[in-house]
Symmetry: C2
């Protein structure tokens, strides 16, 4: 999930100087309109220690009118608060209609921290998250607008920030917290990911903001807030609450369009010799691992997605070549049958879930819902937005049963795709592989890239992470797929713990 908030996005001084005054004015105007509305706005400021949450709160105070703005910080509890149910303190801090309440720390803080430090079980964490989701839904149904920010910093960036603070001698409360959390970065990251995933709803979506660059962070937060306010104020009072539009970036900002795909090193290649050697080795390893899976009765589910002509078919054949034909099935996902159309879209994937000890490889998959169906408009925004949770829940059920789930996105760049399309156009035995549709998809390259980025944000989970494959060189791509396949199987087979 956090991969997509580690892309190194920045805002230049010039861009900031240009945009900041416009944003400031627009926010004040929105706040003025808000005052006459029935909407209370809850802004949740949370994220990694050291990401500058305090600085963002200060920035909001600079941008917004102090009348009708109140910040509540939750970092220690009064005896009045401890004497009552945990949510009492949050009820006290809720903004009246027409005003803005900034919550620095929130109902998320304690459930996450308690689980990070091992004070609660996984089921207890889930229970707390269910309660939070119900609480937020209740407020939203009553007309509140809840804007949830998660400010992210990579492990490396957090360490650097800590070093700088310690060196400068300006240690503060924040430095102490950074110190405490940097030791548990991975654990904190995994728990936070779960918390975000379980509470990311259409009504109250999370906004994940990359926070390495201060200007990018503040401008994105401000612009996101403005967008949410304006959308809310645009609809008349009394209208039912619409599913908020998914919006984790501010398209106005130049580098907002950088996606996780831009991080893939497409320059990677392999020589023929290295390819043959490494492929043979990986296939041998996979053969043995797939039999181990059979013996220990583990289901293996592999998903292949990718650009047209990125080499999915070739990669799948290299995988299946290493397995006994009795163990695996490849499901090529094309248009649904009549029988499939008469059911929920996940039905046609559930039916092919492998038995214990067997392998199903999906050549394209349920991810069509948030890729082609989203981009081509076959699924409406409400449909594809809620699909992220539906898909995560599906995969979680697989993993809880004991399955190992692998997901590959085969990436290449537009030039290499064009070269392959043209090659297919002139090579007789490849001609059938290229259609008018492929050319059409190509025209929507940026939309697809954005959809892939959102897909990775929402569905690259601790239990079923995505692997992005550098596919400009087919040999490199195949070996990367095989190696990843083996590594994930090996780790999965070693982990016999089922949640």
């Amino acid at each position: 999930m956090f991969e997509t908030a580690e892309l190194g996005r920045k805002v230049s001084k010039q861009e900031y100087r240009k945009r900041e005054p416009e944003l400031h004015t627009a926010l004040l105007e929105a706040q003025r309109k808000l005052r006459e509305s029935d909407t209370g706005v809850v802004i949740i400021v949370s994220g990694v220690e050291g990401a500058g949450k305090g600085a963002v709160v200060n920035r909001l105070h600079q941008w917004l009118d102090a009348r009708g703005l109140r910040t509540s910080a939750f970092w220690d509890s009064s005896d009045e608060e401890l004497d009552r149910p945990a949510f009492w303190r949050f009820w006290r801090a809720l903004p009246p209609r027409g005003t803005v309440g900034v919550l620095f720390g929130s109902w998320y803080t304690l459930p996450i921290i308690d689980h990070v430090f091992g004070r609660t079980s996984a089921a207890e964490l889930d229970r707390a998250l269910t309660r939070i989701a119900a609480f937020e839904r209740m407020l939203a149904e009553d007309g509140a607008l809840i804007v949830k920010f998660w400010f992210h910093l990579s492990k490396d960036a957090q360490r650097k920030r800590l070093k700088r603070d310690l060196k400068s001698g300006h240690e503060s409360l924040s430095t102490a917290l950074v110190k405490k959390f940097s030791k548990r970065y991975d654990r904190f990251s995994a728990v936070s990911e779960r918390a975000i995933r379980e509470t990311d709803s259409g009504q109250c979506p999370w906004h994940l903001i990359e926070s390495r660059d201060r200007r990018y962070r503040d401008l994105t937060a401000g612009t996101t807030l403005l967008g949410a306010l304006e959308r809310r104020l645009a609809r008349g009072d009394g209208e039912p609450q619409p599913a908020a539009e998914f919006q984790s970036r501010a398209p106005e900002i130049a580098q907002a369009h950088v996606t996780v795909l831009d991080q893939v090193n497409l320059g990677a290649t392999l020589t023929d010799h290295a390819y043959r050697k490494r492929l043979a080795r990986a296939q041998k390893r996979l053969r043995s691992l797939s039999w181990s899976g059979r013996k220990t009765k583990r289901n293996i589910v592999a998903v292949f997605e990718g650009w047209d002509a990125a080499g999915k078919g070739g990669a799948i054949r290299r995988v299946t070549a290493a397995m006994d034909a009795r163990l695996y099935r490849v499901i090529s996902v094309a248009a649904p049958t009549d029988e499939e159309k008469a059911q929920h879209y996940l039905w046609r994937f559930w039916r092919h879930v492998p038995r214990d000890g067997y392998v199903t490889i999906y050549d394209r998959s349920w991810y069509g819902r948030v890729l082609v169906e989203r981009v081509e408009g076959f699924a409406g925004p409400r449909e594809w937005m809620r699909a992220y949770r539906e898909i995560n829940d599906f995969e979680e059920q697989l993993v809880e049963h004991g399955a190992i789930v692998l997901k590959f996105w085969l990436h290449l760049d537009a030039e290499e795709q064009l070269r392959r399309f043209e090659e297919r156009g002139v090579t007789p035995w490849k001609m059938h592989k290229i259609t008018a549709e492929d050319w059409r998809n190509r025209e929507r390259w940026d939309d697809y890239a954005q959809a892939v980025n959102d897909m990775v944000t929402h569905t690259s989970t601790e239990y079923a992470p995505w692997t992005l494959i550098a596919g400009n060189d087919k040999k490199h791509a195949r070996v990367q797929v095989l190696d990843t396949f083996c590594e994930r199987l090996e780790a999965g087979l070693a982990d016999t713990h089922r949640r």
Copy 2:
């Protein structure tokens, strides 16, 4: 919750003979229209063993056309099923659009049974229920209509049914199940109540059906199903899924209007002598218990609701007279202040939650949402329907924190109320207590009775049950309130286990 399904409601042979053919015809017609629609109908048949679930399924097969109708029973698992995640079997059984699927046993069966027999923790049960709720919501959002029946039989009725079976010598699989479950009736009841409560949503509501009388049971189930089908088919395709109307009874049926209030024995009275003696004893006991609550830092929350002139004020004064004035506060709930209006309706009750060791008595309460606001239309159906869950969650948070929650409904009959109104009209110091509004409320007696019945169905929980007080005799009412207060405090103080 189940109190409202133990009212002894019946359908006479004549009524059944009259209604059954109409219902049969109407169901067939609805099924015909369904075939041309995009809706798949999932009927969940569940409930207490011995309530006649099998008979209901047979009845549905008699009433519906076999084309487009399929029943799936879930009582043992094939190896194919065991080899895959638990929901795989349910996906297989989902009806295609335009058809009806009857699930005899369902995704509820195993989570409930596993918890009844102690194989899962409370948190694990909650987790399973959260998953179920998400699954049903997903199907509903995709256009499915989910009709969930819970067939209820009291402990006593279940025992009788078992005896009859054993005596007749016609033991069957069902008899064996009844035998097994009748031993754990209370536990099964508590777990089922939780399962129903956590999954009773506007989109997929539960229908709780009293099953002692076969004709009442079948006719109510059939009529409820017909109503749900007709409402669904009446809206055009593509319209968003509306919150289903709450409907746990079929108003066409004569005895459907019997409510839980009809069970209260209003004939109970006390002599002056007995009253004075018992009151003094109870007050002494309460004084001591309230100090124990203070010492052990337990919050005590008491709610008083009831008909106008039922004697809430008098009863509350008898309670507070027994407590140290430093320990309690009485909150008289009138029209909300401006500050309260600018917040969610629960906000004004949360603010008065007592500290550990203290008592808050609410003279009228958050239940206004599902009583006066429902009946007078101040809250729309969506609002008061979702309030049941919001309220249950609020009270659960109190109890989890360690609070003891008491809820009283002061009941009297319409004649006694009239007598008191008239008395107030002529007694100078009571005149201020009677207003035009009281007379208006009186005209909507039946609507209020229905609202009270639904309130008890939805919010009389294991952790915060309702007590219905027989209030025709004020002396009896006061002693009943005091005694209940003491019993619940005593039990609560003894139970130091917080969930």
